[in-house]
């Protein structure tokens, strides 16, 4: 064949490319399994946090598409669920990485921050245990909460989680509307942050994250209605927006539900924060009021919502002090957190107010439930 004919050139190029292709597929056959193994080893410890003793396979190539660019890896834990490793850029341009795990029943069973450079005390909250506890237990069609004061980071995390949920729901055949879930999360965010401690005298010390910082107030509740809101203060005061809340809280008096409160125009976040504090105080008062029934012999059968379910106990009150706490049991027992309450409730003896009870660190919800029951018993004994 003449070396300069087009036929020859075409054939030569074809042959060279074919040989190259053959050689490459041969090398790939040898190295691809090793590469996959290496990648898996790097995430192994994270995977095992969610599903100890799980059998993992890297199914990233199977499920990751061009549209799911926030997903780094998808791992199937055989017969148990799926783990997604994700990344996104929040406030810091360095980005963050985290992992989220679903079981096969559509529940989020794990959430762990892997690396982040977000603002300390604000964005980095999204990668700590408190937030993880808010995410774990949600379903695969829920959007994750937005933390006010860390909106940018929250939205970035939410976007990544939504991508993981889309893929997961597709695998499991669950209907999922990503946009609806996201807007629901923004509405729900105000409620999730407020918390109140029962002062034992009908007032509640409440706090909530407002627009630029934390808001605190002392809210007095009687017969299921707000009697007064005193000492409302916080970072939002003086920023020129929503300041009217701080000067005059009389509009809050008499409400029995946060729905009755009108938001202040132009101060939506602050208003929502105030509303959620009121609701939290009302909810706490309600819980305390209904918590105990009088057994008539100086003991009270009490119940309160703990972390994983309802707790019950028989509390004996004598001379305005807790004499004993017996039969403390409930769903929170055995989950490894706050179990000390169940083993030894003697620290509760002699208290005349829940304020004297020290929270068990890491077991906030369970401790709060115990305190609610104590307060209710003491209040009922009066």
């Amino acid at each position: 064949m003449d070396k300069n004919s087009s036929m020859y050139k075409t054939v030569l190029l074809g042959v060279v490319s074919a040989c190259a292709g053959l050689l490459l597929s041969a090398v790939n056959a040898v190295t691809a399994p090793v590469i996959a193994d290496n990648a898996l080893k790097q995430v192994q410890s994270t995977l095992e946090n969610f599903f100890p003793n799980g059998e993992f396979t890297d199914v990233t190539d199977k499920y990751k598409t061009d549209e799911t660019e926030l997903i780094d890896g998808v791992y199937e834990a055989k017969d148990e669920g799926y783990v997604f490793t994700l990344h996104n850029t929040g406030y810091s341009s360095d980005g963050f990485k985290f992992a989220i795990a679903f079981d096969n029943d559509g529940n989020i069973v794990g959430y762990e921050g892997l690396s982040n450079s977000e603002t300390a005390g604000k964005g980095d909250k999204l990668f700590k245990d408190d937030y993880a506890n808010q995410v774990i237990g949600l379903t695969s069609t829920d959007a994750v909460p937005i933390i006010s004061g860390a909106t940018v980071t929250s939205k970035a995390v939410s976007a990544a989680v939504t991508e993981a949920e889309s893929v997961y729901n597709e695998i499991q055949g669950i209907d999922f509307d990503a946009d609806a879930a996201a807007s629901a999360a923004e509405n729900a965010s105000a409620k999730s942050d407020a918390s109140c401690t029962d002062n034992g005298d009908g007032t509640f010390g409440c706090k909530v994250t407002g627009f630029s910082g934390e808001l605190t107030a002392t809210i007095e509740i009687k017969d299921g209605k707000v009697v007064s809101v005193k000492d409302l203060k916080g970072d939002d005061d003086g920023d020129g927006v929503g300041d009217d809340w701080f000067t005059d809280t009389s509009s809050l008096e008499g409400v029995s539900s946060a729905d009755e409160i009108d938001a202040m125009t132009g101060a939506t976040v602050t208003s929502n924060a105030v509303k959620s504090m009121i609701q939290a105080a009302l909810d706490s008062a309600n819980a305390t009021a209904n918590a105990c029934s009088d057994n008539g012999d100086g003991t009270f059968a009490c119940k309160a919502e703990g972390f994983a379910g309802e707790l019950t106990a028989t509390i004996e009150v004598k001379d305005g002090k807790v004499a004993s706490v017996k039969d403390l049991k409930g769903d929170d027992n055995g989950d490894g957190v706050g179990d000390d309450w169940f083993e030894d409730a003697s620290s509760l003896e002699g208290v005349s107010s829940a304020d004297e009870v020290d929270d068990l660190s890491g077991a906030t919800f369970t401790s709060e439930a115990v305190k609610t029951m104590i307060n209710a018993a003491l209040a009922s004994s009066k």
């Binding site: 190029l13 490319s17 190259a20 490459l24 190295t31 691809a32 090793v34 290496n38």
Partner: protein, 244 residues
């Protein structure tokens, strides 16, 4: 420099003067980017030697059957295949090195040294010479990278460190030469790269100039000696003739 002279040059001297990086100014991008640590230098150098030798061999084999107007795509396919194979092996057996070299591993394909030598040398020499040329060029490149990395790593971080990329970055040795307060971090960045490169290039140019001067002087002296010898010879013949 004349062919005759270069053959007499020492091995290391040749490495300096025929250096693809500082002599021919090829492959500068990767040199500037990668030379931040001797680990990277050795890793990249080994990779380039691997690709260079094999590509030179393959090119010298297929050059005779490759028509001129498609020789570039053909050579590029060869080089790209070799680099991809290298990438796959590194990704499987030396992940840390693979991550450290990053994009510059795939950029070996367009490293001018490789295509440059394929076109300038391998396509008109036999397999053995081509392989040798590839090895020499690769070694020179590695040496250049090593020198630059040494300077940049010591001045920029103060530590001379070598780890084993095949054993999960196990440290082979790590010596602090300059205390932390006196290091010049600029050297680990782009500014330091250009700076170091410029100084080294100038030094090598100086060396080459000196060699050229020495050779010119030697040639001149040889010419003078030859002329003298010839004149002496002529005088001798003339004297002999007159005597006769």
């Amino acid at each position: 420099m004349s062919e005759k002279k270069t053959k007499k040059q020492g091995f290391f001297s040749k490495m300096l003067t025929d250096n693809p990086v500082f002599g021919l100014y090829l492959g500068i991008c990767s040199t500037l980017a990668i030379s931040t640590s001797i680990n990277n230098a050795l890793g990249m150098g080994a990779g380039v030697i691997f690709v260079l030798v094999l590509s030179n061999v393959v090119v010298s084999l297929i050059a005779p059957i490759t028509p001129d107007d498609i020789h570039i795509p053909v050579y590029i396919v060869v080089i790209a295949t070799l680099v991809t194979i290298l990438q796959m092996f590194l990704n499987a057996y030396a992940v840390d090195l693979y991550t450290a070299l990053g994009a510059f591993l795939s950029l070996i394909v367009v490293n001018c040294i490789i295509l440059g030598r394929a076109e300038a040398y391998a396509c008109n020499h036999n397999v053995k010479d081509s392989a040798k040329d590839g090895l020499m060029m690769g070694l020179s490149y590695t040496l250049s990278l090593l020198v630059m990395s040494l300077i940049r790593q010591v001045l920029g971080t103060g530590v001379l460190e070598l780890t084993n990329p095949f054993a999960g970055s196990a440290v082979i040795f790590s010596i602090r030469l300059i205390p932390e307060q006196f290091i010049i971090p600029m050297f680990t960045g782009e500014t330091g790269a250009f700076f170091t490169f410029a100084v080294l290039a100038a030094l090598i140019a100086l060396y080459k100039n000196k060699l050229a001067e020495a050779e010119a002087a030697a040639e001149k002296a040889a010419k003078v000696a030859a002329a003298k010898a010839k004149a002496a010879q002529l005088a001798k013949e003339k004297a002999a003739k007159e005597a006769a």
